[in-house]
């Protein structure tokens, strides 16, 4: 049984990570020439810098222990979100399941191998985002050698919780469903259900933790309480943090192991009886007869070719559950949280504190403020990844772009529209939230910031589309590979870091000058970068090089 599980896990995991090319194919060692290796190093440097800054700040306030709480809260939430989005696709809808079904494999073997695949994906996330902060925490607190041993143990154990829990819930839900007629709608509904559940729990914990009376001294206490509340609900998180703190290591380890034995037992019990039966519900549906007749007069109305092209592009990610969840969901969730937090901050805190209300209401807009807004906007643009997957999402269909009679440049420009449209909504929300808190900002200034954000948004979309065109993932097994396992996303992270550095430079240089000179300079810098990107695209198209890798 274990042999089969390992074999299946290896195949499934390899399928997922095939697009990264971190290892040299012949020597199997890390390929120093691989761009991904270097991009991962850059992201890790940024995480190191950020973690170091936060640790120093917390150390100054004597609150360094909050770091572990908050890191694990963020880590577990990210892992839950990642599992929710990936689990249904990996467990029930990935293409390789159909290849495995004819093999003499037991139901629970296949299920466990799929859960292992999810865990392996989460290990990737952990390595990139949690390992360095934990090492830095150890250094900052002069932790003993045992701390580093327990760190490895904790990192191995942590992702098992979200992966197994979500798989159990998914299996139970699937048991009560007779047949799945609309795979995409089904996945969207199930994922929405999971996400709403998680968000509601988070809101509940935040409400419990934040007191109505605003007090600067209680901020740390509030953050700690929120983290503690969330971590408590995740059963294994607090014991794992205790292990890191060398607090009753064996008892806490035993707690975690017992929880996992129960969870795995439940998973195997449910999986044994239902997993393959559940899979067959997703593959066995076939209509014997198509009934709906076409109304040619209403359904066959001509449209402008470009409009039709955009519409088709939009349908590509709006009608596919996984693409929709990975491109539109995350940004919707963040916008929703942003609105919620702003309204809560405004009504629950500012309006109850006259001093704070006067302070924020009387603030003038500075170039520093503009740069912070632009930085937040850039971070939000990097979530979702509509442009960075615009070509890859098409899979083998992408070649269609090359033989239709629409100019390649026009197609390139059009492909930016979905991402930029969503970004415009994001910008508008950011500005409205800003206006709600800093009431003194004039409409004229908001319009200026809007256009600055727009240029940065178009530039971001342009660059990410170029990355996807140059390094597309066209041959994929499951839609998850296109976004979650897409190594190109590292380019997005690196670009965001670069934009933040540019903004920091602008803030430093134009701090003492007139606000409008600063804004004009910002517009010029990003405008020139956009012009260079556009010229590059035109030249590459002229030389027939831009779409060279789409064949």
């Amino acid at each position: 049984m274990i042999k089969n599980i390992i074999l299946l896990t290896k195949i499934s995991t390899r399928n997922f990570f095939q697009n990264f090319n971190l290892l040299d194919k012949t020597t199997r060692k890390i390929d120093k020439k691989s761009m991904y290796v270097w991009l991962i190093i850059i992201v890790m440097i940024a995480i190191t810098y950020l973690s170091n800054e936060i640790l120093n700040m917390l150390d100054d306030y004597g609150q360094i222990k909050i770091f572990l709480e908050v890191l694990f809260t963020l880590g577990i939430i990210i892992m839950f979100m990642q599992t929710i989005i990936a689990s249904m696709n990996i467990l029930y809808f990935s293409k390789d399941i159909e290849y495995f079904l004819p093999f003499p494999i037991k139901s629970e073997e296949l299920l466990l191998s799929k859960v292992n695949t999810i865990i392996n994906i989460l290990y990737g996330t952990e390595l990139l985002f949690m390992l360095i902060p934990l090492i830095l925490y150890g250094i900052s607190t002069s932790a003993p050698f045992l701390y580093y041993i327990t760190t490895i143990l904790v990192l191995i154990l942590l992702p098992i919780f979200p992966a197994v829990l979500i798989s159990i819930i998914a299996s139970i839900i699937m048991k009560f469903i007779k047949v799945i007629k609309h795979k995409n709608r089904f996945q969207i509904i199930i994922t929405l259900f999971f996400i709403i559940l998680i968000v509601l729990l988070e809101i509940l914990f935040i409400r419990v933790a934040i007191s109505n009376q605003f007090d600067y001294n209680t901020i740390e206490v509030n953050i700690k309480t929120i983290s503690e509340n969330i971590n408590k609900s995740m059963l294994v998180v607090n014991p794992l943090i205790s292990i890191l703190n060398q607090n009753h290591i064996f008892i806490n380890l035993l707690k975690v192991i017992i929880i996992y034995i129960i969870m795995y037992g439940l998973l195997i019990l449910i999986g044994k009886k239902t997993y393959i039966k559940n899979i067959l519900k997703t593959t066995g549906y076939n209509k014997n007869k198509y009934k709906k007749e076409v109304n040619f007069e209403t359904q066959c109305k001509p449209q402008n070719a470009l409009k039709s092209y955009i519409k088709n592009d939009m349908k590509n990610f709006l009608k596919n559950a996984i693409f929709f969840m990975q491109t539109v969901y995350p940004i919707c969730m963040i916008i929703f949280m942003l609105i919620l937090m702003t309204v809560y901050f405004k009504i629950g805190i500012i309006e109850k504190n006259q001093e704070l209300s006067d302070l924020l209401g009387g603030m003038n807009l500075t170039i520093e403020g503009v740069c912070i807004i632009l930085g937040i906007a850039q971070v939000l643009f990097s979530i979702g990844g509509i442009s960075i997957s615009a070509i890859s999402r098409q899979g083998k269909n992408a070649v269609f772009m090359k033989y239709i009679p629409i100019s390649i440049y026009k197609q390139f420009v059009i492909k930016n529209i979905p991402q930029v449209s969503i970004n415009i909504i994001t910008i508008t929300i950011i500005l409205l939230c800003t206006k709600l808190i800093f009431v003194k900002i004039s409409i004229w200034n908001m319009i200026c910031i809007f256009f600055l954000c727009l240029v940065i948004s178009v530039l971001n979309s342009y660059l990410m589309l170029i990355v996807d065109i140059k390094r597309p993932i066209l041959d994929w097994n499951s839609e998850i590979e296109v976004l979650k396992q897409n190594g190109n996303k590292i380019f997005q992270y690196v670009w965001t870091i670069i934009v933040v550095i540019i903004l920091m430079y602008i803030k430093g240089t134009f701090e003492d000058m007139n606000l409008y000179i600063g804004m004009l300079a910002t517009f010029a810098i990003f405008g020139i970068l956009l012009f260079i990107a556009d010229t590059y695209v035109r030249k590459q198209i002229k030389k027939n090089k831009l779409f060279k890798n789409i064949i």
């Binding site: 995409n184 076939n286 209509k287 007869k289 198509y290 009934k291 709906k292 007749e293 076409v294 040619f296 007069e297 359904q299 066959c300 109305k301 001509p302 449209q303 402008n304 070719a305 409009k307 039709s308 092209y309 519409k311 088709n312 349908k315 590509n316 009608k319 596919n320 083998k396 269909n397 070649v399 269609f400 090359k402 033989y403 239709i404 009679p405 629409i406 100019s407 027939n544 060279k548 064949i551």
Partner: protein, 241 residues
């Protein structure tokens, strides 16, 4: 008319996949493009349709260079690719409308063509369903209908028979003959020699990136001085090459 003029292609420097190939396909002609796996059939089709860059030489589609005037050339092409798994999230009718929009087919013409072709391929009742629910053969049919909506003067098909049921194969063959009769070019690649033998005006046999024979089946038989089937003749040519 399609004119392939001295084209060459290599993926790795010094290793030519297509080596100085020349071929002319006249209006009103059905030409079968035959060759073993890896001979270069799909590479040629990809260069003809602008999917792959041509290293040397040129391809003219009705006198328009695919290299220099790709937009004009592509307007006269209808390609049925080797994989029919296209736009699976769209309904059949949505896909057909999309194709008609891209190739600027007016409402009257599109309604007439969709009605006519979907009836011919027995697809009328499936048009309101998503393509992902179609069988392989149905997907192939919907792609063929989509390609024919704008009545391309040059119909290029990459392995079109694969996955079709006998009736659909028969219908497709009839349609290809009718299409060529109207003065259009029909160019298709196939592994199924039987189809080529019954359908083509001429066949071009490609091996290792070079055309090793071009002409009518009778000419091929004369050349080999035998009254063999196309299958035997094909094997002889490939083995002699």
């Amino acid at each position: 008319m399609i004119e392939i003029k001295n084209i060459s292609k290599s993926y790795i420097k010094g290793n030519k996949i297509i080596d100085n190939m020349n071929l002319e396909i006249n209006n009103g002609e059905i030409l079968g493009f035959i060759g073993p796996n890896g001979a270069g059939k799909t590479t040629v089709i990809k260069m003809m349709t602008g999917i792959l860059e041509i290293d040397d030489g040129d391809i003219l589609i009705d006198g328009k260079s695919i290299k220099n005037s790709p937009y004009e050339a592509k307007k006269n092409i209808g390609l049925v690719p080797d994989s029919p798994d296209m736009f699976l999230n769209l309904k059949g009718i949505e896909y057909l409308n999309f194709m008609a929009d891209i190739y600027k087919v007016g409402q009257g013409e599109r309604v007439k063509k969709i009605r006519e072709l979907s009836k011919k391929f027995d697809m009328e009742e499936a048009l309101n369903e998503k393509i992902e629910s179609y069988s392989h053969g149905m997907r192939q049919k919907i792609v063929i209908i989509g390609v024919l909506l704008h009545s391309p003067k040059n119909w290029i098909l990459d392995e079109p028979i694969t996955g079709l049921d006998p009736k659909a194969i028969y219908d497709l063959k009839v349609m290809m003959k009718e299409y060529a009769k109207k003065g259009n070019v029909v160019f298709f690649s196939t592994h199924i020699l039987d189809v080529a033998e019954n359908l083509c005006d001429r066949v071009a046999i490609i091996n290792k990136g070079k055309i090793v024979f071009i002409g009518k089946i009778d000419e091929l038989r004369k050349k080999m001085k035998d009254n063999n089937s196309l299958e035997k003749l094909f094997m002889e040519i490939i083995e002699n090459d």
